[in-house]
Structures are given as structure tokens and as C-alpha cells.
Amino acid sequence: MNLPPYASELQLCLCHTCGYACPVDAHRCPRCDSMIHRRKPDSISRTWAFLVASLIFYIPANLLPVMFTDILGHGSENTIMSGVLEFWEAGSWDIALVIFIASVVVPCMKFSLLALLLITCQRRSRWAMRERSRLFRFVELVGYWSMLDVLVVALVAALVQFRALSTIEPRLGILFFGLVVVLTMFAAMSFDPRLIWDAEVDDVR
């Protein structure tokens, strides 16, 4: 094999904080004194935990109303999907599409992609490793765009306060939705992409 040698073969490991190549048996980085691990500790189980938690929160986030609008005394509560449907039926399909992508497609994609990465890593699959690591970078990039919903609700609720004419108030659903986004970001953070390549060698971990 003309592959470059692995750090483990050279009895080295990388400091997470400063990127210094430390000897394997050192506990702390000689340069920045942070804890060193060969891989992120318990990466897979932590990612699973955050992923499961965010999946659980995703259910109330979709079932509970996220926003209460009261226009001229005509109050109504909207969940994410009912808002999307309302916009769609009102003819503004573009806004409906934006909301749908930001609040349904992106989180669902993150769940499925992270689950896919975790399962393949656990099974030490060598399938499409390069593409999978590219997927992971995509997940990290796209993660915080889901906060769009939370931001919109927070902005609108702060701006539209005209007493009797119209008021918009946030509802419990948006809190859960924010938790979902935060937890999926934690999950992505705690995943170590190097685990994808560990399938190439048998003696890692």
C-alpha cells in the first residue's frame, strides 16, 4: 500500500485544541496542556445520545403550536406544518417552500445523515468513505440554518405588538424546535469524522 502511515503507527496522536502531534502515551498536550485522546472520547455513543434526544424533541416541536397570531381579535395558533400549508393554500408557495426546507427538510436530513454516518462507522464499513466525509462537512455547514425558524418567530413576536390590532406571541413548540437544532449541532460536533477512515485499519481504538 502506498498510503501514508497512520498516526497510530507512528505512536502519535493529535491534540484536539492546538493540533500538536503528541506522543500516544501522553495524557496532556505538552504544548497547550489540554487532555489528549486519539479520537474524540465516546464519539459514537455521545452522538447517538444527542441524536436520540433531538429526535424525541422533534415530535413536540412539530405537534405543538409555534406561534400565536391575533389579528383584529381573530386569534389562531399555528404549528410548523399548518403554517406551511396555510402559506401554500394562500398561493405563496415560495415562502411555504422556504419554511418547509428550513424546518422540515434540513432537520430530517441531519437526522438521517448522522444516523447513516454512525451506523456505517459502527459497522466499520468501507463504503464510499470519501463521500461520507463530504456529507459530514455538509451536515456541519447546513446545521445552523435550521435556526431560521426560531429567529423568524423571535423577530416577529418582538416586532408585531399592536395591542388590540394584532399581536404575535411565541408558543412552546418553537422552544422544542430550538432544542432540536441545538442538539443536532451538538451531535454533529461530538462526531469524529476520522472514525470514517478507521475502517481502513483493523487495530484502531
Binding site: 455521545r46 433531538s54 424525541i56 381579535g73 381573530h74
Partner: protein, 552 residues
């Protein structure tokens, strides 16, 4: 190099590093566990707080919207409409409502549901706020012990909510008039309650009304309180003239009921809730004292009864004691007359204390006693007479009065109905007197009077003619001369006349003379010696100043 140092280090026995990662690895699972617990608690909470699910049927779903329309009690949201569908036979709309857990009392059988929409009626405007907020379903919990999940919604709000303080009463009347649910009930023209419901009485011969009097005004309803229908305008054209009576403007449109206690109620007790009362047609009949049993009498009039109508009053010495109930024609074979037979009901109790005394004297009120009483009265001259009550309208009434000049008549005590003898009416008497006057007038010798008068007038005419021809010209001449004399006199006294000027000069002379005389007397009074000595030369300097009067 690193290998070397590494091997050197490994030779030295050191403290083994004990990792505690395994514990912290499992600690991260607290996050999904916490999430699951939160989720579970929410599920349990919503399951516990999920209230009963009920179906309410309405005539129409106008203004109702699934998941939007609220159910409110005293403007507090107690549930939401979750679905609207047609009933199986498509005659009704079924609204599925999810009530809150706290709204359990609203599932009792007698709970009322109605749709609150803006309403404009004769009795007012309501639900204006729903113009903007959309309709909502109003609810009012009942008191029944039975619960159900199927209700029939009301089409209009119930007039009285449960738990409102006050009393319900039942009224019975012959017909409903213009009363309706929600029609006001007035006490001294103040609204104190309303009509809640009405229905035909079980035998179909009347209407039973239920009314509600709000607290604290329900304390004015006593067991002898009279209720009457105050709907519309009460215009009475009777023997007493035209009378217009109404309770309020809204009662003209929407109808209404009024009540009052009779004028004299010595021992009235507070009415119990749900007590039954009669609803009278008008205030007069309602407030009239109780009539007691009626007696039927008959009268036979030999005159035209034009203006006498059914329900015309029958008065005894000015007190209304009954009313006319029938007017019939009869034919008398012997005299070939058509007498009018008037039937009337009289209520002896309306005589008040006189009646009580009569009862004491003659015994209990019955036909026998009335007959004997009537007999004695007729012997004293009691007669019926059709009198004119109102000259303008020509209404007649029957008056029972004592007529000492009336001829004696035979009264049959055993006859039924009792018959009261009559005398000709007041108009008939007037006619007789008029006739007598006309007769007298016709006896006056108008012809001879006219002839005499004619001769006198001719004489007078002749005299005037003579006066005109002889006397008048002489008078004219005399007047002419008089005028001339007056003209001359006025010329003499005019400003330019020489006589006047001479007179003026003469007057001036006299004035000057008078002044000289005064000067002289003044001088003499100061110098009386000058009469003897003459005027001294030095005294000429004394300040006299004799001014000459300016010449004209």
C-alpha cells in the same frame, strides 16, 4: 529518538492512569433520557388535561370554524371546536367540541350551547365584539346529575343564565299577544325581568309563560301581585272617552309584561318561586278588585239603543258593577213594538262594604237572595236607564238608579233571569222637553207681530225722508256761516295782523313804565329824604343802571 525516550519512560514503574471515561460516557445518555422524560410528561399532561369530547348540533355552521372557534363561558375559553360535519340526514350541523378538563360540569344534560353572533333585534343589539373576532360558542353549565356527550344547540342565547339570582314565575293567559322570549317584564316602568319561555297549556286552551324576575326586584312580587300584558299601545274608546296607554317604546315593538300589587294589600306575603299567576289583558282589569260570582239580569228597552255595545259598563249609582253581555231584539205582539232586550252581568262584590252589609242582612250570596234584594230595591224605585256616556262618540251605558217618580211595576221574584224594569233614557227625556218647547214656539202669533212691525217700519221711513229733505239743508247753511266767523277770528289773531303789532307795542310801553316805577320806588326807599329835599347832586354817581329795553 522518541522511541528511545518512550522505552526509557516505560521502564520506570509509574502510577497507572485510571480512566473514568466509561462512567462519563454513560452520563451523556442522560440527555436523551431527560428529553424522553419531558416528552412523556407532556404526553401525560395533555392526556390528563384532555377534557370530555362532546357533539353539539346546530341549524347552521355559520361563523363556526374547526380548530378556530372557541367555546366560552363568561368569556373564559373552556374548549375548542375540533370538527364540523353534517348529521346523517343532512338536516343539522354537528360540531365536535373538545372541552378542557376543568370544563367537566359542562357535560351535564341540561347544559346549554348557543352560537354568539352579532344580533340586532327589537330588544337590543348584542355580540358586537364578534364582528371582528368571529363567532364563538357560548355555554352555560346546568345542574343535572346526568352527563351526556350529545347536545342540541340553541339558535339564540338563553335570556337567563344559570345561577343568576332571582325567581321564576309562571303566568297563564288566553293568548300570547306580541310577547316573545326575552320580552321585558316591567315593574313601575322599570325593567326587572324577562320572558324565558312560553308554550301552549296542555289542554290547548291558553298559553303558559315562564318569566324570570332578577334579584333584588323579585322581592316586589307578592302572592296577590297582578300581571298584565303591556304590549303595544292600548287605545280604549269607551264611555269614558279615548285613552292611550303604553309601557315603553321597546314594549310597543317587542311586547312586554308589567306587574304591580293591588292598591290596597293589607296582608300580602312574598311570592314563592315558580308560583302561578294569571296574566290579564290590560292594567285596568288586572288591578280591578276580584269580581266574585256574577249575576245575570235582563232589561227591556222600548227605545233605540244605538251606541250601546257589548262590554258597555253597567253602573249602579255611578259605580261600575257589571257589563253588558248581550243585546237582542224582541217582538211584542200586542203593541207591535220591537223592544231591545239587554242582558248584563253584574258583580255584587264590586259594591264593596255595601255588599258585605247586605250579605249580613240577607244571608249568603245566591240567586234567591239577589232576587229578594232586587225586589226591595225596585220597590224603592230602582230602574235601568240607557244613558249617554259620551256626547262626542254617542256611547251608551246602562245606569241603575233610583227614580222616585217612576211608576210602580210588578216584579216577579221567581222569574229567571231576573228582569229589571226600565225607564226611558236621558236622551228620550230631552227629546220630550224639546218637543214641548217647539210646541210653545209654534203657538206664538208670528203673523200679526210681523204685520204690526211692518207698519211701524213704514212710519219710521217716512219720518227719515222728511228729515232729509227739510232739516238737512238748513243745517248746512248754518254750518257754513259758523265756519266763516271762525276764519275771521283766526285772521285777527295771526302774527302779521296790525292789531297784534299794536298790542305788542302797547305791552312794551307798559313794561317800560313798570320798570321806571320800580326804579323810582327803589330810589325812594334808599333816599326817602329826597321827597322833601330833592335829589342831591353827589348821588347821581350811585350805581343804578337803567338799561333801556331793546326796541322791537
Amino acid at each position: 529518538m522518541s522511541d528511545k525516550s518512550h522505552s526509557d519512560q516505560s521502564l520506570v514503574p509509574g502510577t497507572p492512569h485510571i480512566s473514568s471515561r466509561r462512567f462519563s460516557a454513560s452520563l451523556v445518555w442522560l440527555v436523551p433520557i431527560a428529553a424522553a422524560l419531558i416528552g412523556l410528561s407532556m404526553v401525560i399532561h395533555s392526556w390528563l388535561s384532555a377534557g370530555p369530547k362532546i357533539t353539539v348540533s346546530f341549524e347552521t355552521a355559520e361563523g363556526l370554524e374547526a380548530n378556530k372557534t372557541r367555546v366560552k363561558y363568561k368569556n373564559v375559553i373552556i374548549g375548542t371546536v375540533t370538527g364540523i360535519g353534517l348529521s346523517d340526514d343532512r338536516s343539522q350541523v354537528n360540531a365536535t367540541i373538545e372541552l378542557d378538563a376543568a370544563a367537566k360540569p359542562f357535560t351535564t344534560e341540561d347544559t346549554l350551547f348557543w352560537v354568539v353572533r352579532p344580533r340586532i333585534g327589537a330588544s337590543g343589539v348584542s355580540g358586537v365584539d364578534t364582528l371582528f373576532s368571529g363567532a364563538f360558542i357560548g355555554a352555560d353549565a346546568g345542574h343535572s346529575a346526568q352527563t351526556t356527550n350529545k347536545f342540541v344547540g340553541l339558535e339564540s342565547p338563553p335570556p337567563v343564565t344559570y345561577g343568576e339570582k332571582g325567581k321564576h314565575f309562571f303566568l297563564h293567559t288566553d293568548d300570547l299577544g306580541s310577547l316573545d322570549i326575552g320580552s321585558p317584564v316591567y315593574y313601575r316602568r322599570i325593567q326587572v325581568g324577562q320572558v324565558i319561555s312560553y308554550q301552549l297549556s296542555p289542554d290547548g286552551k291558553g298559553v303558559d309563560l315562564q318569566i324570570f324576575i332578577n334579584s333584588p326586584n323579585d322581592a316586589f312580587v307578592f302572592d296577590d301581585t297582578r300581571f298584565w300584558n303591556a304590549s303595544g299601545i292600548d287605545v280604549t274608546v269607551g264611555a269614558s272617552g279615548v285613552k292611550v296607554d303604553t309601557e315603553s317604546l321597546s314594549s310597543i315593538l317587542a311586547g312586554g309584561i308589567a306587574f304591580r300589587e293591588p292598591n290596597y294589600t293589607p296582608n300580602a306575603k312574598l311570592a314563592d318561586a315558580n308560583q302561578k299567576f294569571a296574566l290579564f289583558d290590560d292594567q285596568k282589569t288586572a288591578l280591578a278588585p276580584p269580581d266574585g260570582p256574577a249575576h245575570y239580569i235582563r232589561m227591556r228597552f222600548d227605545q233605540s239603543l244605538r251606541g250601546l255595545s257589548i262590554n258597555a259598563p253597567v253602573e249602579f249609582l255611578g259605580v261600575e258593577i257589571g257589563k253588558v253581555v248581550s243585546i237582542d231584539m224582541d217582538y211584542d205582539d200586542k203593541t207591535q213594538h220591537f223592544p231591545a232586550v239587554v242582558g248584563a252581568l253584574i258583580y255584587p262584590q264590586r259594591l264593596g262594604s255595601a255588599h258585605e252589609k247586605l250579605v249580613r242582612k240577607f244571608g249568603k250570596d245566591n240567586e234567591e237572595r239577589s232576587a229578594r234584594l232586587l225586589q226591595s230595591l225596585i220597590e224603592h224605585g230602582l230602574r235601568a236607564q240607557a244613558r249617554t256616556g259620551n256626547v262626542l262618540t254617542g256611547q251608551l251605558y246602562i245606569s241603575l238608579d233610583f227614580d222616585s217618580t217612576a211608576k210602580k211595576v210588578k216584579f216577579d221574584v221567581a222569574a229567571r233571569p231576573l228582569e229589571v224594569p226600565t225607564v226611558p233614557g236621558s236622551f228620550d227625556k230631552l227629546q220630550e222637553q224639546l218637543q214641548a218647547m217647539v210646541d210653545k214656539i209654534s203657538k206664538i202669533p208670528i203673523d200679526s207681530i210681523a204685520n204690526n212691525l211692518d207698519g211701524s217700519l213704514k212710519e219710521l221711513q217716512r219720518t227719515i225722508k222728511q228729515f232729509n229733505s227739510d232739516t238737512l239743508p238748513q243745517i248746512n247753511v248754518t254750518l257754513d256761516q259758523a265756519r266763516k266767523a271762525l276764519e275771521r277770528a283766526s285772521e285777527t289773531f295771526s302774527d302779521r295782523s296790525p292789531e297784534r303789532q299794536q298790542l305788542g307795542q302797547a305791552m312794551d310801553e307798559v313794561q317800560r313804565t313798570a320798570r321806571s316805577v320800580r326804579l323810582l320806588t327803589d330810589f325812594l326807599s334808599r333816599h326817602p329824604e329826597s321827597l322833601i329835599r330833592g335829589r342831591s347832586a353827589d348821588r347821581t354817581t350811585e350805581p343804578f343802571d337803567i338799561q333801556m329795553e331793546p326796541q322791537q
